[in-house]
Amino acid sequence: MATITVTVNGKSHTSDVEPRTLLVHYLREQLNLTGTHIGCDTSQCGACVVMVNGASVKSCTMLAVQADGAEVTTIEGLARDGQLHPLQEGFWECHGLQCGYCTPGMIMAAYDLLQHNPAPTDDEVRHGLEGNLCRCTGYHNIVRAVQYAAAKMRGEQVTV
C-alpha cells in the first residue's frame, strides 16, 4: 500500500492505495465519485476524463499514486454553488446527451478544449474531442452544446 494525498474537487483526501490502482478506480471505488465512467480498457473512449492540475487526463491511463499531491476535478466538482457550469447547461439545453454515459468525460474534455480555445470553430470542436466516443448522439448536438457553453463563457448572449 502507498499513501497519497490528493485534492479532489477542492477537498483534500489522504488515502492508502495499492500502487497499481488506476486513478479512475481510486475515484470511483475509494472516493465513491461514480460520475467518472469506464467505457473501455484501452484509453479509447474518454468516458473517464478528469482534470489533473488543470489538464484533461483519461483517468484510466494514470495511476492513483501519480496523482499524489495533485488537484483533480471530476464532473461532480464542476457545478459551483448549485449553479451548473455552462458546459453542463449546454449539454442539457442542446440535448448533447442521451444515455449520458459518455457525458461526464465529454464535458471534462470540452472544459479543457475551451480553456485553450475559447472560440472554437465546429471543426475545432470535433477535432478537439475526437478522443471521446459517443454512441447515442451522433455528435451533432454535442458540437452545439460546446458552442453554447463557449458563447456563454465569453459573456455573449446565448439564445437557444
Binding site: 495499492e18 490502482t21 478506480h25 470511483r28 471505488e29 465513491n32 461514480t34 460520475g35 467518472t36 465512467h37 469506464i38 467505457g39 473501455c40 480498457d41 484501452t42 479509447q44 473512449c45 468516458a47 471530476t74 464532473i75 461532480e76 464542476l78 457545478a79 451548473l84 453542463q88 449539454f91 442539457w92 439545453e93 442542446c94 440535448h95 446527451l97 442521451q98 444515455c99 449520458g100 454515459y101 459518455c102 457525458t103 461526464p104 464535458i107 465546429d122 471543426d123 470535433r126 477535432h127 474531442l129 475526437e130 471521446n132 466516443l133 459517443c134 454512441r135 447515442c136 448522439t137 451522433g138 455528435y139 451533432h140 448536438n141 454535442i142 458540437v143 452545439r144 439564445t159 437557444v160
Partner: protein, 789 residues
C-alpha cells in the same frame, strides 16, 4: 430540480430547418381543433440534470453493504473440450471468497441452448469468450488476480467458423443431436413481426432454420425484364457498441429465497422471467430493477444477469459483475453477419418485374433468427409482382447473434438499395424518381406477402426530392451524391400506466417501461398536455418488475408508440376523477367544468376554481367521494406503424488512396407525429451515425480459428467525432392511424439507410460498385484499380 419550460421548449428550434418547424406547427393544430401546448414542442431530457452532474446511477455505480465482486474466466478457444479445471491456486489467494464452475451454480441442470442459458460452460466451450469459471472476491482486483490463476485444460476441437462452409451438406455439425429445448426467442421480443420460418426437419445440419417466401412467377418475371442485375452482398458482424459495458448487481435474500437484480437492461420483465427460469425460482422471487442504462441498442436483454444472480444466491452475498470492454466484445450478442444473393429485373418503362434472393445468416453457436425481417424488408420496399426469397439461418462457432437497432434492416437495405440504384442507372433514370415509381404504399405486400400497414415511403422520397441537397445537388471532382431509402415495421406491445395527483399538484406517472434514450421525456409531455400542467410538474416514475405496470421490452421502436397511449388513458382517467371531485365541490355539472393551467374551474365562474392539488386534498379527505386522485390506463395498439426514411450522403473519394470522406448527410424521416421533437431529432442524429458506422467503419473480424481480431476500441472502429459530419434531420409528419397522437416508432429507422446511401455515393464518385461493407480504403482502392484495368 427541473427548470423553466419556456427555455426548454425553445431548445430545439435553432436546430430545425424552418420548413420542418412550420410544418410541425401546422400539424400541431389538430385534435379538438386547438394547438397542443406541450406536445410537438422540444423539451429537454427529464433526467438531464442527473446526467450532466454525474449523479445518475448506472448499475456499475451501485455499492451494497457486504457486496462482493465477480470476475469471469472466458474460453480462449472457439471450440474445445474442457478436460480439467484446477481452482486450488485461485481459491488460496487472499480476498477470494469463491471460485465457481457450472456445477456449483443453481443453473447447473438447465439446458445450454442460448447465450442467456450459457451461464458457465459445461464440458465443452462453443465460442471464444464463453464464460467457464467465475471468481468472487472482496474487491474486483482480488477477484481478477485469482481469475488469472485458474487453470483450465482444454482439448481444442476444430471450429466451424466460415458460414458458407458451415452451411455445406458435408460440414461438421455443431449440434449433431439437435439443440436442447428451452429458452426465449429474442427476435420475438424485439419486433412484432410474424415469422413464417419452419423448423428444419431431416438430417442434422448447421442450418437451424429456413424461411421461404414467394409470390407470382419469378422465371416469367425475369423473362419480361429488360434489365437484370444479379449480385452477392456481404454485411459484417457488427457490435452494438453501447458505451457502458454490461453491468449487473444481484442481492440475495437467503431467508425468503429470493434475489434482486439491479441491471443495465432494456427489458426488465424478460430478464426477470429468464433469471427465474434458469435459477428454478418462481417469478415472484426474482425482482429486476432497471438502472440508468448506458446504451443498449438491442443488446441488453439479460446476458449476464443469470450469472450474477446465480453467483449471489450461491455465495449468499450481494455480487457485482461489470464486464470489461474486451469481455463485452467477446461474450455478448453482436448483430449477425450476412450474405445476400440478390437478382432483380425491371422493364424499360421502369416497372420492377422480379426479385429473387438467397439469404445466409451467420448466427453464431445458438439460434437467432433475423432472416424473416431481412426478407420482409428486402422484398417490401418496392412493388414487385414476382418474388422468391429463400433464407437460411446458419450456426457457427461464434457468439450467438443478437439484435442491434433495426436488426436485419441495414443488411437488407444495403442489398436492395445498391441494386435499385444500378437498375435506375442502367435504365437512364433519375434514381429518386425511379424509386418513387416503384415505392411500396400502404397495403402493398412486404417480403412475406403480409400487407404494409399505413406507411409513407413515397412521402419521404418526395421530401428529399424537394430538398436543396438533392434538388440543387452539385458534386465536385471525386465527389458523389447517393441516396437510399430504408424502413422498419416497428413493434408494439400492450402496456399499462398509473397516474396520480399529489396535494401539491405534482402529477406522478408510473410506468414499467425502460427509458433507453428519451421516451420518458416524451411521456411527461403526454400527461402534461392532458392535465394542462407544465411538464416540470410531472414526475415519471420507472417501476421495477415488482412495482411497475407491465410494458414490453424497449426494443423494436415500440416503447413510446405502446406506452404513450397508456399514459394518456391514465391521465384522462385522472382528469375524470378531478372533474368528479370539482363537480361535487362546486355543486356544478361535470360538463360545465374545464381544466386549464392545472386549475379546474366552472365555465363562466372564475371564482369557482381550484388547482388540481387542492382537489386532490379534498378527495383525500372526503368520505363517500371518489377516493384519492389515482387512476390507471392501458393501451394495446392494434397495428404497427412502419417508419420510413430517405437518406442522402455526399462523399469525397481520394483517387490515390480510396479513402472516403463523408461531406454531407441528410436524413428525412416519417415520424408520424413528433411528441417531443428534441428527442426525435436526437434519435435521428444518433441512428444515422450508427448507419454510417455500418457503411464505413465497423466490423467484428474473426480468423479461421474463431478468434476475434477486433476485441477492443483500438481495433473496432466506432465512428469518432471527426469521422462524421453534422446530420441534417428533416421530419415528415405523416400521422399513424393507431399510434398515440399519430406518433410512429422512430428509434430504428434512422440506422437502416446509411450504408446503402454511402455505397451509392461512392458509386457516383468512382463508378465502382461496392458489394461489401464497411467500405474500407484498401478495398475501394483495389476495386478502383480493377475497374481502370
Amino acid at each position: 430540480m427541473r427548470r423553466c419550460s419556456r427555455t426548454a421548449c425553445s431548445v430545439s428550434v435553432p436546430f430545425l430547418k424552418n420548413e420542418t418547424m412550420c410544418e410541425r406547427r401546422k400539424e400541431a393544430v389538430t385534435q379538438n381543433g386547438s394547438e397542443f401546448r406541450y406536445l410537438g414542442k422540444g423539451h429537454r431530457l427529464v433526467e438531464g440534470l442527473e446526467k450532466v452532474t454525474g449523479s445518475a446511477k448506472y448499475a456499475g455505480d451501485l455499492v451494497l453493504p457486504g457486496m462482493l465482486h465477480a470476475r469471469p474466466v472466458l474460453s480462449p478457444y472457439a471450440h474445445a473440450r474442457i478436460t480439467a479445471i484446477d481452482v486450488s491456486a485461485a481459491q488460496a489467494m487472499s480476498g477470494v471468497v469463491a471460485v465457481l464452475t457450472a456445477d456449483d451454480l443453481p443453473t447447473r441442470d438447465r439446458a445450454v441452448n442460448s447465450r442467456h442459458s450459457a451461464v458457465l460452460a459445461k464440458e465443452r466451450v462453443l465460442f471464444r469468450g464463453q464464460p467457464v469459471v467465475v471468481v468472487v472476491g472482496e474487491t474486483e482486483a482480488a477477484a481478477q488476480d485469482a481469475a488469472d490463476q485458474v487453470v483450465i485444460e482444454y482439448e481444442p476441437l476444430p471450429p466451424v467458423v466460415d458460414v458458407i462452409r458451415a452451411a455445406a451438406p458435408d460440414a461438421p455439425v455443431i449440434w449433431p443431436n439437435g439443440l436442447p429445448k428451452e429458452g426465449m426467442d429474442l427476435t420475438a421480443a424485439h419486433a412484432a413481426v410474424d415469422k413464417r420460418e419452419q423448423e428444419t426437419a431431416g438430417a442434422p445440419s448447421n442450418i437451424h432454420d429456413e424461411a421461404h417466401y414467394a409470390r407470382g412467377d419469378v422465371k416469367r418475371g425475369f423473362a419480361d425484364a429488360d434489365v437484370v442485375i444479379e449480385r452477392v452482398y456481404r454485411t459484417p458482424m457488427v457490435h452494438q457498441g453501447y458505451l457502458e459495458p454490461h453491468a449487473s448487481v444481484a442481492e440475495p435474500d437467503p431467508y425468503r429465497g429470493s434475489v434482486t437484480v439491479y441491471t443495465s437492461t432494456q427489458g426488465q420483465f424478460g430478464v426477470r422471467d429468464e433469471v427465474a427460469r434458469l435459477l428454478s425460482l418462481p417469478k415472484h422471487r426474482v425482482r429486476v430493477v432497471p438502472m440508468t442504462i448506458g446504451g443498449g441498442f438491442g443488446a441488453k436483454y439479460g446476458i449476464i444477469d443469470p450469472l450474477t444472480a446465480a453467483v449471489a444466491v450461491t455465495v449468499k452475498r450481494p455480487v457485482r459483475l461489470v464486464l470489461t470492454r474486451t469481455e463485452d466484445f467477446l461474450s455478448t450478442t453482436p448483430s449477425p453477419a450476412a450474405i445476400v444473393e440478390l437478382k432483380v429485373g425491371a422493364r424499360a418503362d421502369g416497372a420492377l418485374t422480379a426479385l429473387q434472393a438467397r439469404v445466409l445468416m451467420d448466427n453464431g453457436v445458438f439460434p437467432f433468427t433475423l432472416g424473416g425481417i431481412v426478407s420482409i424488408l428486402l422484398g417490401g420496399y418496392y412493388k414487385c409482382p414476382n418474388l422468391q426469397i429463400d433464407c437460411y439461418e446458419v450456426l457457427t462457432h461464434k457468439p450467438q447473434g443478437g439484435a442491434y437497432r433495426a436488426p436485419g434492416a441495414p443488411t437488407a437495405t444495403f442489398a436492395i438499395e445498391s441494386t435499385i440504384d444500378d437498375i435506375a442507372r442502367a435504365l437512364g433514370r433519375d434514381p429518386l424518381e425511379f424509386r418513387l415509381q416503384n415505392a411500396a404504399e400502404t397495403g402493398d405486400p412486404m417480403g412475406n406477402n403480409d400487407p404494409w400497414p399505413h406507411m409513407g415511403l413515397n412521402l419521404v422520397l418526395e421530401r428529399l426530392r424537394d430538398h436543396p441537397a438533392w434538388k440543387e445537388r452539385e458534386a465536385g471532382p471525386n465527389e458523389g451524391i447517393g441516396i437510399a431509402v430504408g424502413g422498419w415495421p416497428c413493434g408494439m406491445s400492450p402496456a399499462a400506466s398509473v397516474c396520480r395527483v399529489d396535494t401539491d399538484g405534482t402529477v406522478r406517472v408510473h410506468v414499467g417501461s425502460v427509458d433507453i434514450s428519451g421516451v420518458n421525456s416524451s411521456l411527461v409531455l403526454v400527461a402534461a398536455e392532458i392535465l394542462s400542467v407544465p411538464p416540470e410538474q410531472v414526475e415519471l416514475i420507472q417501476g421495477d418488475t415488482r412495482s411497475g405496470p407491465f410494458a414490453g421490452p424497449s426494443g423494436g421502436s415500440q416503447t413510446t408508440y405502446s406506452v404513450a397511449g397508456a399514459v394518456a388513458n391514465a391521465a384522462r382517467a385522472v382528469r375524470e376523477k378531478l372533474f368528479q371531485v370539482a363537480a361535487d365541490h362546486f355543486e356544478a355539472s361535470a360538463a360545465d367544468l374545464e381544466l386549464r393551467d392545472g386549475i379546474v374551474s366552472v365555465k363562466g365562474f372564475p371564482d369557482k376554481a381550484a388547482p388540481i392539488g387542492e382537489l386532490a386534498a379534498i378527495a383525500e379527505g372526503r368520505a363517500g367521494g371518489p377516493g384519492p386522485i389515482v387512476a390507471e390506463g392501458g393501451a394495446a395498439v392494434s397495428e404497427n406503424a412502419p417508419g420510413f426514411v430517405a437518406h442522402l450522403a455526399k462523399v469525397h473519394v481520394d483517387p490515390d488512396t480510396g479513402q472516403v470522406t463523408l461531406k454531407q448527410y441528410v436524413a428525412v424521416q416519417d415520424v408520424g407525429f413528433a411528441l417531443n421533437p428534441t428527442m426525435v431529432i436526437g434519435q435521428i442524429h444518433g441512428g444515422s451515425v450508427q448507419g454510417i458506422g455500418w457503411g464505413m467503419y465497423e466490423a467484428m473480424v474473426y480468423d479461421e480459428y474463431g478468434q476475434l481480431l477486433t476485441a477492443s476500441f483500438m481495433d473496432y472502429n466506432l465512428p469518432a467525432f471527426d469521422q462524421v459530419p453534422d446530420i441534417e434531420a428533416v421530419l415528415v409528419e405523416n400521422r399513424s392511424p393507431h399510434g398515440p397522437f399519430g406518433a410512429r416508432g422512430i428509434g430504428e429507422p434512422p440506422i437502416t439507410a446509411g450504408a446503402a446511401a454511402i455505397a451509392n455515393a461512392v458509386r457516383a464518385a468512382t463508378g465502382v460498385r461496392v458489394t461489401e461493407i464497411p467500405i474500407r480504403a484498401e478495398m475501394l482502392w483495389r476495386a478502383m484499380r480493377e475497374a481502370q484495368a
